[in-house]
């Protein structure tokens, strides 16, 4: 058998900088991504809280930002959306947990290209710095929303934040695209080329399938966003007219002519819709993993789950037009996009059905990861059900610019994915840090967060149906919206409580890291490869040997087996009779 030093592509680093800062170890890089996302989520959450406060107390002077003018509100909106989508929902589930656990779950000592992996993280970090810098330049952060619609995003004279702040925004997104493409390339190569002996594709944990399909989506989608960003930079700085038609700003005719704002929308949403799945698929993988482990049952319909992930990925590239029903597109195109969008309901329903099938008649162990995984399914269903409404042009047109859409995408893309991250954190924390998180705090965190998120986002559907427009800084003076003010107030109070409880989570995270009870190698009695190695895993993951896989990933409650689970590396005979 080969020794640790010979198996691993690079030796364990000694100095602090090579070990923790510019590390080539996928586990350290995964943790770096995780903490980057943690910082980002608090920035994003703080911005959302400022918006919620402003919505019910429009004249309040707030700390750090002072009085919120309409353009300040738009800056908060833009930066909240961008930071959350890119630096939280894309970063933590895929780059964070994927980096840490994909190689271990397939039995590899590291990612395929460790140097590229390190570069991916630091480029992502650079993108985050550029994004945050947008707050501190002349004119402040951009106003054009996370979707960056042209011509607003393409004209520096269109508003205060559209000057240097918007340039930084575009540059940050472009840098982020490059980092994500490098990451996607690394994930796919690792999964295809570095699997341990016996780890056939249909023995992969569903987490790996989710990371794999997500990486393929990233590989195909981020290139398109990068191209869109390049065109936007050229329009903004070099006078081209890809997106800008003949337009007058503040009485001044701009030098552009003949560009099409719709071109940006097509390119953006060709990326933007797959991005929704980039955010949610890893959460689906984690939910499947956790549900099966804590229900002590094989995942219901493993292969159906795999094919559903693939189908969601594939269909995700054919539906971008449903974000553009308002743009005046041909009704025939809209019809096609509508049908394709509703078709995504089929694989999504298969997944939901299989999750429920996994829970059916199970002896469930209600630990924190399981609670969050069940919460994920709940939010996925609640947020998903409004999808088929919005998929129909005739309903989308009146609902599109209202809070209905805000409620829909926050439930399904935002909070469901965040619940996936929480489930993954509670589930893998013992393996990552060698200690257990506090269970009581975990349960308090779960219940208040679950109830809180429903309290924030469910009423938004109601507001939307009542015709409350989104994106406006304040509409308290409009008579027809007057009766809705108590609903807005309720949502803000719910936001205060929900955000407050997240500090309990952070306390639990850091306290447990140093003071939590020591974790065993396999505290959840799970079956996949990460639980066969030491806690936390050694530098080369498996302490000098390469595992050989003999079983599928979810063999729980196997009749006749000595324990109620069979680990993937157990010898074939161990569970035979």
């Amino acid at each position: 058998m080969a020794t640790t030093a010979t198996v691993h592509a690079h030796a364990a680093p000694q100095g602090f900088i090579r070990k923790y800062i510019f590390s080539l170890d996928h586990k350290v890089i995964g943790i770096q991504y995780y903490f980057l996302a943690l910082v980002a989520v608090f920035v994003g959450m703080f911005l959302s809280l400022l918006m919620r406060i402003h919505l019910i107390w429009p004249t309040a002077v707030l700390p750090l930002v002072g009085e919120i003018k309409p353009e300040t509100y738009l800056s908060l909106l833009t930066m909240h959306g961008t930071i959350m989508v890119f630096f939280v929902l894309t970063t933590a589930p895929q780059s964070g947990f994927g980096n840490y656990f994909l190689p271990i779950q397939i039995g590899a000592p590291d990612m395929a290209f460790p140097v590229l992996n390190m570069l991916s993280f630091w480029i992502t970090f650079l993108a985050f710095v550029a994004m945050i810098a947008a707050f501190f330049v002349s004119g402040g952060a951009p106003l054009h929303g996370w979707t960056g619609y042209a011509p607003l995003s393409a004209l520096p004279s269109a508003g205060p934040g559209e000057q240097l702040g918007a340039d930084l925004w575009v540059i940050s997104i472009a840098i982020f695209c490059v980092a994500s493409l490098m990451g996607a390339l690394n994930f796919i190569t690792t999964l295809l080329d570095l699997r341990a002996k016996g780890m056939t594709l249909f023995r992969l944990p569903l987490t790996c399938w989710a990371w794999f399909v997500t990486a393929i989506l990233g590989l195909l989608a981020f290139g398109v966003l990068l191209s869109a960003g390049i065109l936007l930079l050229l329009d903004r700085n070099l006078g081209t007219s890809f997106y800008v038609p003949l337009v007058v700003v503040n009485g001044q005719v701009m030098g552009h002519k003949g560009g099409s704002p719709l071109l940006w929308q097509h390119l953006f949403w060709f990326f933007g819709h797959p991005e929704v799945y980039i955010a949610i698929l890893p959460g689906m993988g984690v939910a499947s993993q956790v549900l099966s482990t804590f229900a002590r049952k094989p995942i219901f319909g493993y292969k159906a789950m795999v094919y559903a992930i693939m189908a969601i990925g594939l269909l995700g590239f054919m539906v971008w037009g449903h974000h553009m029903f308002m743009s005046g597109m041909s009704p025939y195109s809209a019809f096609a996009f509508s049908i394709m969008t509703m078709a995504i309901g089929v694989p999504s329903a298969i997944k939901t059905f299989n999750w429920l099938g996994t829970l059916h008649k199970a002896r469930i162990r209600f630990h924190s990861p399981m609670l969050f995984a069940i919460g994920f399914v709940s939010l996925f269903v609640s947020g998903g059900l409004s999808g088929p409404f919005l998929a129909q042009p005739v309903l989308d047109i009146p609902l599109h610019d209202t809070y209905f859409v805000v409620g829909h995408f926050h439930l399904i893309m935002g909070v469901a994915a965040i619940f996936g991250i929480f489930a993954a954190t509670y589930y893998w924390f013992p393996k990552m840090f060698g200690r257990m998180m506090n269970e009581s705090l975990g349960r308090i965190h779960f219940w208040i967060t679950l109830i809180g998120t429903y309290a924030i986002f469910m009423p938004m559907h109601y507001l939307g149906m009542a015709g409350h427009p989104r994106r406006y800084s304040q509409l308290t003076e409009l008579a027809y919206l007057h009766d809705l003010i108590p609903v807005q107030q309720f949502m803000t109070y719910a936001a205060f409580i929900t955000i407050g409880i997240q500090f309990v989570f952070v306390f639990n995270l850091f306290w447990s890291m140093f003071k939590g009870p020591k974790a065993s190698d396999n505290p959840w009695e799970a079956t996949t490869l990460e639980w066969t190695t030491a806690t936390p895993p050694p530098h080369d993951n498996f302490g000098g040997h390469t595992p050989v896989v003999n079983h599928g990933p979810y063999e729980y409650s196997v009749p006749g087996a000595p324990r109620d689970y069979v680990m993937q590396t157990d010898p074939v005979t161990a569970a035979a009779h």
């Binding site: 020794t3 010979t6 198996v7 592509a9 397939i106 039995g107 590899a108 000592p109 395929a112 290209f113 996607a184 390339l185 796919i188 190569t189 295809l192 080329d193 570095l194 699997r195 341990a196 002996k197 016996g198 780890m199 056939t200 249909f202 590989l219 989608a221 981020f222 290139g223 990068l226 191209s227 869109a228 390049i230 065109l231 050229l234 070099l238 081209t240 007219s241 890809f242 003949l246 030098g255 003949g258 560009g259 071109l263 097509h266 390119l267 094989p298 995942i299 050989v548 003999n550 079983h551 599928g552 979810y554 063999e555 196997v558 009749p559 006749g560 069979v566 074939v572 035979a576 009779h577």
Partner: protein, 239 residues
Amino acid sequence: MKDPKLGQGGSGVPPPVTDGGGDGREDNGAPDYGARLRRARLGILLLLVTVTMLFVAFTSAYIFRQGLPVLDERTGKNISDWVQVSLPTGLLVINTLLLLVSSVTAEFARRQITQEAALAPVQSIPGILVDGERSFPWLAVTIVLGFGFLAGQWIAWRELQARGFYLATSPSSSFVYLLTAAHAIHLSGGMLALIYAGVTSVLRRPVELRRIVVDITAWYWHFMTLLWIYIFALLEFAR
């Protein structure tokens, strides 16, 4: 109870022991260059998928913009404002030939180093001397031809400017500069890789490692040649 091998997630058939990859090392601890080459080729293939998506997006923007009617302020009617750029076609054909030849030399460089790598283990056996004749510097020729192509593209840009087509002159000229510049930047990446391979040759790195760099760069280079022919055809014929 049925055979547990048939349980959830199992394929039902004991897997072949060859499934899965290696870690770049053979069991005796020696570097497994074959596995590394396979991995590097897969990586470069995925990189080319990304590059393809970038240019697919540019192309769809090109076709979208070309067919877009624009409101004429004087007549109030929708008209096409697409002005075809008069390309310096002769010069671009010469550039294309340069690139095609460079692709051929890159292929020769790839085959040459593949052969060298194959002979490396034999050469390391004491007492065996393989023909030490200096081989033709195909790599250097490729680099020179690559520089020639980039210089040619630069001259073509100057020619476009002389004809009055700047970046922001018309939608079509914006696309000409965009596509040629994006291609040139990608080709420059290939040049850097070739130069790196040359430097590692001087530094006497193991031939198997240099082979991996040259091999994947050659494939990348061929793709860049095809991409250029595609861009040239798009600009010339998609009117």
